[in-house]
């Protein structure tokens, strides 16, 4: 008998069900329907914006990330998510820059996958908000025609934004904040509203996020605690003064809340590792969203709510360490 060579490795000797790339590419897959919905509502321009952001993110990862790190799928997620939180008709070069900043300053500068403190896509968006405040608040009316591209989309860097020649509309949150005009709830749910590309169809996002939750690729406690927190707090405010504060359902389905709760706050790297911590984290995000929307200067607050809570994650982890088996009861008589 020839001597076969055997593997000698530490236990356990069986492989578990999921790998990090499996999780990441499943997230990418679950974003596809949302991207298609964005394209349905905003035309081919949606794909171009998302594509530019993703190209920026992936190119940066490929150039400056660790060797082979493109294959883990995390850069693709960052790019797609960034694209989804940009307005339709956003200049493509800006979207590209956003993707670059997301990966370079949101992730690589901290040491790559797993090391970053803030959600890279939201960091990129925060950068764009600071750098291009006008472009990022120009909202195109859904259904402007499938193939029409707003002129400012293809504008050349630093040459001015071009003429804004599209029919713009305010987002439901903007309408409420500045003009106290409500939006039909059903339109909010299916997405027939103005807003960022991925902010439109709440129901679709629930389905896609729910798939990930069922497969344990995201911690369901985070979106659920965000929803509870938002619903309770905004419900209280609504009871106090219904003319000033919108209903909880409006709060849940408007703006980036659904996308943020299911896909941004649940980013494993930047959310707590403990389940108890996830409840705390979600409750904090929800509270901040309500506070910013109700009393802040901006109509929308999901981005800052999540970024602020990201910063607290190390503390939340420390506060919510599991109680080790054998230390939960009083000391045994020895």
């Amino acid at each position: 008998m020839s001597r076969p060579r055997f593997l000698v490795t530490a236990s356990p000797h069986l492989r578990g069900p999921a790998t990090t790339p499996t999780i990441m590419w499943n997230v990418v897959g679950s974003l596809v329907p949302i991207i298609l919905a964005a394209t349905f509502y905003f035309g081919i321009g949606a794909l171009l914006v998302i594509g530019s952001a993703t190209a920026g993110a992936m190119l940066t990862e490929a150039l400056f990330g660790r060797k082979g790190s493109l294959g883990d799928g995390s850069a693709a997620i960052t790019g797609l998510l960034l694209g989804l939180i940009l307005p339709p008709g956003f200049p493509l070069w800006m979207a590209f820059i956003g993707g670059v900043v997301s990966i370079a300053f949101g992730k690589l500068i901290f040491g790559g996958l797993g090391q970053n403190i803030f959600n890279p896509a939201l960091l990129g968006r925060a950068f764009l908000q600071a750098a291009f405040p006008v472009a990022i608040t120009t909202w195109v009316e859904p259904r402007g025609g499938w193939l029409t591209l707003p002129a400012q989309m293809t504008s050349v860097p630093f040459m001015g934004a071009g003429d804004v020649d599209v029919v713009t509309s305010a987002t439901p949150l903007g309408l409420w904040k500045f003009e106290r005009i409500g939006t039909e709830l059903w339109n909010l749910m299916v997405g027939h509203i103005g807003g960022s590309l991925g902010e439109t169809s709440g129901l679709l996002i629930i389905v896609c996020g729910g798939y990930l939750a069922l497969r344990n690729f995201l911690n369901w406690r985070i979106p659920i605690s965000i929803f509870i927190s938002v619903a309770v707090l905004s419900g209280l405010l609504h009871l106090i003064d219904a003319s000033r504060y919108p209903s909880p359902l409006f709060m849940l389905f408007s703006g980036g809340l659904m996308l943020g709760a299911w896909f941004m706050a649940t980013d494993m790297v930047t959310s707590p590792v403990t389940n108890k911590g996830c409840w705390v984290f979600g409750a904090g995000v929800g509270a901040l969203v309500v506070i910013i929307r109700a009393w802040g200067g901006m109509p929308e607050g999901v981005m800052y709510a999540i970024l602020l809570m990201n910063a607290l994650v190390p503390y939340i982890n420390e506060w919510t360490q599991p109680k080790v088996f054998g230390t939960r009861l009083t000391e045994a008589p020895s």
Binding site: S11, P12, L14, R15, A18, M268, N275, G326, L329
Partner: protein, 443 residues
């Protein structure tokens, strides 16, 4: 009963028991040589009583226990001792072992001996007989069984828990002991109950062994308070602390033993081995081993003489297949990998598993993405993510503040880690490093 008997956390690896679940136990013919390491148990190695060239009969004592936490070693076959020398040990090192060239045409009969009647023995006499029989925990840890039957006076034991969980994938050893020798298990329980002076016995069996549950239930003694508890199938249900939590809702304090909560846990195989001492008079010289995995042609449950080489076991099961990639002693979650097919089966070897390449650990690892899956898996509620990062950074002593010594090395965290970070291996390394750092500091 709506209440589910189990512990919290844990994992659900594929059970993979179907390969040998329905295969009846059969006896392996005596091999040409048996190799009996002096260290087959937790505690001090046995001291040899024989020399090279001696002729020994089956069941003769070859080495005696060195102190109380030790166990003797007996000849598992008749023949001539060829050497007492270093030999590959399943733990990966070379250890002193007694080699016996087995006599080919021997009837393999033991010398006539007096079989003690357990009913007439006092508890200390039973403990002595169990130690003389060389019985150790047959569930894998190989802790000398008699030690657990003689707890110190300052603890009071009220319950004996019999471990028939066999939560490791692939293994069907305990399953077949329960299904095929239930009376022997019950006799062992009776003797232990007498030794400990305890009348409450709980047998925990995972629900995936209905025939074992049925066989044990059908032979329950009428005069003893023995109960059978089917348990949820989950790894590591067979870990002592988890089993006690599932059956009794008692939590063994950190750093303490089951006897601190009034419980003694014994494996079903150990029960049968104790019974054998008082039935046939034979010490622990053979055991039942599951030889299985996709790398073995004909998986089987075998009765083998202790000291039989793995090579002989695999040959008896039709040899290796093309897929054979990794040979593991014990279960695939906690077992020890083998590089050499000359290693012998020990008293505590529950199974020999030959895994195929497709099911073994992945080669590539990724960065930790802080998914928290390891925290959800850890049955003792550690934070493997944090401990792993500390270990990788070489911050070994800090891990003590985070209960590194409470880790059972069950492997749940490594199993679920999507980034394939070898967490339980890191913890093993960390503990070794801490011990070294402390001895260096003391010196």
């Amino acid at each position: 009963m709506p209440y589910k008997r189990t512990f919290r956390h844990g994992v659900h690896p594929p059970e993979l028991k179907e390969l040998t679940e329905k295969v009846k136990i059969r006896r392996l013919p005596f091999p040409d040589e048996v190799v009996l390491p002096l260290s087959q148990h937790t505690g001090k190695p046995a001291k040899p009583l024989v020399q090279a060239g001696d002729r020994v009969e089956r069941a003769d004592k070859l080495a005696e226990a060195d102190g109380f936490i030790s166990a003797p070693v007996h000849a598992s076959a008749s023949g001539t001792i060829t050497a007492i020398d270093l030999w590959p040990h399943p733990d990966g090192s070379y250890k002193p072992a007694i080699r016996i060239a087995v006599e080919r045409y021997s009837p393999q009969a033991a010398r006539p001996r007096i079989i003690p009647r357990w009913e007439g023995l006092t508890p200390p006499q039973i403990v002595q007989a169990v130690q003389d029989g060389g019985v150790v925990g047959l569930g894998g840890a190989a802790f000398p069984t008699h030690v657990k039957l003689a707890p110190s006076k300052d603890v009071s034991i009220d319950t004996i828990v019999i471990n028939g969980c066999e939560c490791e994938p692939y293994l069907t050893t305990d399953h077949h002991i329960m299904a095929e020798y239930p009376e022997r298990v019950h006799l062992g329980i009776r003797i232990m109950a007498r030794a400990l002076g305890v009348d409450r016995v709980m047998i925990g069996i995972e629900k995936n062994k209905p025939d074992a549950i049925e066989a044990i239930r059908a032979t329950l003694p009428a005069d003893l308070n023995v109960t059978v508890h089917p348990l949820t199938v989950k790894y590591p249900q067979g870990a002592e602390k988890m089993l006690i939590e599932a059956l009794l809702k008692r939590e063994v304090p950190s750093g303490k033993l089951p006897l601190h909560v009034g419980v003694v846990v014994q494996n079903v195989g150990s029960c049968a081995a104790i019974a054998e001492i008082f039935e046939t008079g034979l010490p622990l010289i053979e055991r039942i081993v599951t030889v299985t995995g996709r790398g073995v042609a004909e998986p089987a449950n075998l009765i083998v003489p202790v000291g039989t080489k793995v090579r002989d076991l695999i040959d008896a099961c039709g040899g290796l297949t093309e897929d054979a990639h990794e040979v593991v002693f014990g279960g695939p979650m906690m077992g020890a990998p083998q590089a050499n097919l000359d290693v012998p089966v020990l008293k505590g070897t529950t199974g020999v598993i030959v895994l195929s390449e497709a099911e073994t650990r992945r080669k590539e690892s990724f960065a930790c993405i802080r998914c928290g899956h390891c925290l959800d898996a850890c049955p003792v509620f550690l934070n493997p993510q944090l401990l792993g990062q500390m270990a990788l950074a070489g911050r070994y002593l800090e891990t003590e503040d985070h209960h590194i010594w409470d880790c059972m090395l069950c492997g749940c965290c490594s199993y679920v880690c999507p980034s394939n970070i070898p967490l339980s291996q890191l913890f093993q390394v960390t503990r070794t490093a801490i011990r070294r750092l402390k001895t260096e500091a003391a010196a």
